[in-house]
Structure formats: C-alpha cells, structure tokens
Symmetry: C2
Subunit: 168 residues, 2 copies
Amino acid sequence: MKISMYQASAPRFANALRNLSAILDKAQAHAEAKKIDPAVLGGLRLIADMLPLARQVQIACDTAKGAVARLAGVDIPQHPDTEQTIPELKARIAKTLDFVASLPAAKIDGSEEREVVLKLRGQDVKYNGLQYLLGHAWPNFYFHVTTAYDILRANGVEIGKRDFIGTP
Amino acid sequence: MKISMYQASAPRFANALRNLSAILDKAQAHAEAKKIDPAVLGGLRLIADMLPLARQVQIACDTAKGAVARLAGVDIPQHPDTEQTIPELKARIAKTLDFVASLPAAKIDGSEEREVVLKLRGQDVKYNGLQYLLGHAWPNFYFHVTTAYDILRANGVEIGKRDFIGTP
C-alpha cells in the first residue's frame, strides 16, 4: 500500500497542532492558577537570543500550512504574526487547522516529485516534494512544536510527553 | 510512486542523528573553549524535573532503533544507558546509526499494516506500522532530538536551525 503524501502530511500536522493547542490550554490554566499576567506567556524564551513562545507557535503553524500548500500547489495563506496571548495563539492554530483541513487528499497525493522552491537566507533552494516533506518540513515543524513545549515545561507548566504525543 | 516505509524511516532517522552528532561536536568545542568540565554537559537540564541531555540523546537513539527494528520485525538491540560525556554520547549515536544502516530496505518496506505493540505505562498498546511510525515514533524521536538541542542552546552553545536541519 505504501504511504501517500497526504497521509504523511495534513492529518499528521493537524494531530500535532491539536495537541499543541491542548498544551496551550494547560499553560493558560497554569497562568490563571499562579496569577501570572496572561500577556507574559507569549514572550517566554529559553534564552534571550532565542525566539519566544508566540513565535515558536506561529512558525509551527507556518511550517504546517506552507508544507500542505506547497505540496498541493496552491497559494500559502498569509497569517500576520500579531498573536501574543494564549487565546490568540490558539486562534492562530485553529485558523491553520482550518486551512490544512480545506485541502482534499487528491490535491496533495502524487506530489512526491513536485518541485518545491524555498527561499533560504536569500537563496532559492529546490527540493522535490518527498525530500521537502520528510527532510525539511517535518524536522522544522517538530522543532518549533517541541520548543514551544520546552519553553512552557521549563517555566513550570505541568505537561508531559503524553500531552505532546496525544492519540497517534 | 508514494512513500515507502523504508524511505520514511531509516534514512530519515539516520540524517537527524548525524545532525545531532555534529551538534554535540559544537557542544564539546564550546565546553573546551569555556573550560567547562566535560562531565557537566550530559547532566544539563531545562528544569530540575526534566531529563538531562544524556537521557535525551539516549532516548532519541532508542526511538530510532526501536522504530526500525519493530517495523523490520527484528529484535531491538539493547544499548545500556551508561553514556555521560559528549564522546560517549556520540559513540551511542554511532552505534545506533550502524544498527539503522544494517537493516535492508526490503525488511522495512511493506510494514504499514504490521502490528506493533508498545508497553506504555504498563499497558500493551497496539498500533499498525504506519500509525506507529507517523504518529508515535516520529514525534517522539524529534521531541528528544529537539530537546537535546534546546538544552544546549539554552546553555549558550552557538548552534542554529541550520545545524538541526542539516542537508534534507
């Protein structure tokens, strides 16, 4: 049977983003219980020169929507990076989930050899769809989802691997 | 053409592990330049109740070797968790890479429907090969590779996303 490009992309990004949204719920509950100003969470960082939580969530969303759009050969919707609070970041994830769900499997399937061009540090870098999905989009996506988790975990939010994996 | 189970597993785990090994080289160089006791690095954590760097690397290795072994239907080699220094952790990665490379594509291909049973919190949980690889092994693997990166990055090692992604 093999794995289709759709199976390896849209539903998997969606699953991880839903888990991230539930992790953000726990972060919000933690902030409320500890009387932390809700505006603080989005700015939390692991170290001063690393991107804060809000940007980690935004880039995870961008990676997911960029991947499915590029594989489907449709324009990537622009979502301005204005979110700061947890409810705003959850809305960003919801908007991303809506876009991911809007692409029918047939648009993404068969994109293994589709040319994908990324602008990286000012240079055009070409991949085929398979290499792009497995070697670029996946590690990049999980990098930002995990770092969002790590920022919250390092700041005392009670989350565990089970929240990250969810229901495979 | 679709994606084969081999394409989506062994070479991808190997690529990310090689990138992690190169990140550990930078960590070692950083420790030497800053005169940090080399025994310190393996014990670094993001927060007291989260696993340290050495365990993150060991679990990333375990996830990779467990995934390819389960999909191939062969015994998982046992690698005792004795590593603490960066050279020891790099050797653990090298041993994992050797095992991943030892499995021919034909053993892993066709494992989409193979039953995989994981012992999770004392319970047997059943997956098919496809669900296990995409929904469990991948997120778990990247979780630990990214957290290893985040621990080093949060401790001042000069690494960037380019080191994490490497050559897709």
